[in-house]
């Protein structure tokens, strides 16, 4: 079961990096980055999973809990992802105003 999740994580990261490299439309590039961020958030959760554990809120009957630390880290990572995405969208709006296009071809030029 856990291998299905590992497979999903690796796929999400691979799809994201493929999208960033091959797409030229800025919106698609930032969507690809969001896909990668989803993958890495899922990865943190998967690493904190303990078989049979429940949510780490202590109210009585349970004895095994999943690792709470990665969940706290994911909370941080999600907020950071949202912030970067908001700034990115604003940059895209500005870029469109200046160039009247969303094509961005300089990304892979070194």
């Amino acid at each position: 079961m856990i291998w299905a999740i590992y497979f999903a994580i690796a796929s999400l990261l691979a799809i994201g990096i493929y999208g960033v490299i091959t797409k030229k439309n800025l919106m698609k590039i930032f969507i690809s980055i969001s896909i990668m961020e989803t993958g890495v958030n899922l990865m943190l959760i998967a690493i904190g999973y303990i078989p049979g554990g429940t949510a780490p809120i202590e109210n009585g009957d349970f004895t095994t809990y999943v690792d709470p630390l990665p969940q706290a880290l994911v909370l941080t990572a999600i907020v950071i992802g949202v912030s970067v995405l908001a700034l990115a969208l604003v940059m895209v709006i500005n870029y469109y105003e200046k160039n009247k296009t969303l094509e961005y071809r300089r990304l892979m030029k070194w």
Partner: protein, 241 residues
């Protein structure tokens, strides 16, 4: 060419990550195989970090929700940083949109949406406030609560094309809430010994008024996140005429 590079890199990343996962062990925080070393004193401690959180959250922080205890107390410094990232992004957004005076024509929404959103708005705000006030007892906390509040304002912006939040009010809320967070941290330096350390009584565990500084910080975060996300949406909507 580009597509080939994409496929090769994606395959490489996929292979690396799957290969690394084969080495990840299942974790049991109660087993004696795991220990940590004290970075200041040196020497082994027969305990895991996770085990410590699960055993001691209640009596060290007074919170029932271990994730909240980690986010606000144990690793509160990360959360200060996280709030700062959001603040930085919202500053950047308002800075970059400042010069664009775009006026787009928007269609008026229909009567049901307009009146319905007026009725629903107080309930959305109340739900958001409930979520961040009860952060130490139930799942949720400042970030989800703030997002719910911002979603209420988003609804208003969708329903009314001319609805704008006052820029100055949003920025004052942001500033005051951020100031409260940092000042509580500094009060920890004054009244207890460390930055962000709890200096209030833990109270009766499980009640609303308990867990020391956690609810106060989470309320500040709730206001701050709500104000920042609403501010970002306000800026993205355009400039007030």
């Amino acid at each position: 060419m580009r597509r080939m590079a994409g496929i090769v890199l994606a395959a490489l990343l996929f292979a690396c990550i799957m290969y690394a996962f084969t080495f990840v062990k299942t974790y049991d925080y109660n087993s004696s195989d795991y220990y940590y070393t004290d970075p200041i004193e040196g020497g082994k401690v027969n305990e895991t970090v996770t085990g410590h959180y699960i055993e001691n959250t209640k009596n060290e922080t007074g919170a029932i929700n271990a994730v909240t205890a980690i986010v606000v107390e144990y690793r509160g410094f990360d959360t200060l940083g996280e709030v700062t990232v959001l603040f930085t992004a919202s500053t950047g957004v308002s800075m970059l949109l400042y010069s664009l005076h775009q006026r787009r024509k928007r269609r008026e929404a229909n009567l049901i949406l307009k009146e319905g959103s007026k009725i629903v708005l107080p309930f959305i705000l109340l739900t958001g406030a409930y979520i961040f006030i009860h952060g130490h007892l139930t799942p949720g906390g400042g970030f989800p609560g703030g997002s719910v509040i911002a979603s209420g304002f988003l609804l208003m912006m969708v329903a009314y094309p001319k609805y704008f939040l006052k820029e100055s009010r949003v920025s004052i809320t942001e500033s005051v809430a951020g100031m409260i967070f940092v000042l509580i941290g500094m009060l920890g330096l004054v009244f207890a010994s460390y930055f962000l350390e709890n200096f209030l009584s833990l109270g009766d565990v499980g009640r609303l008024f308990s867990a020391g500084i956690i609810p106060i910080i989470y309320i500040a975060i709730g206001f701050k996140v709500g104000a920042e996300l609403s501010g970002i949406m306000n800026n993205l909507k355009g400039v007030e005429e």
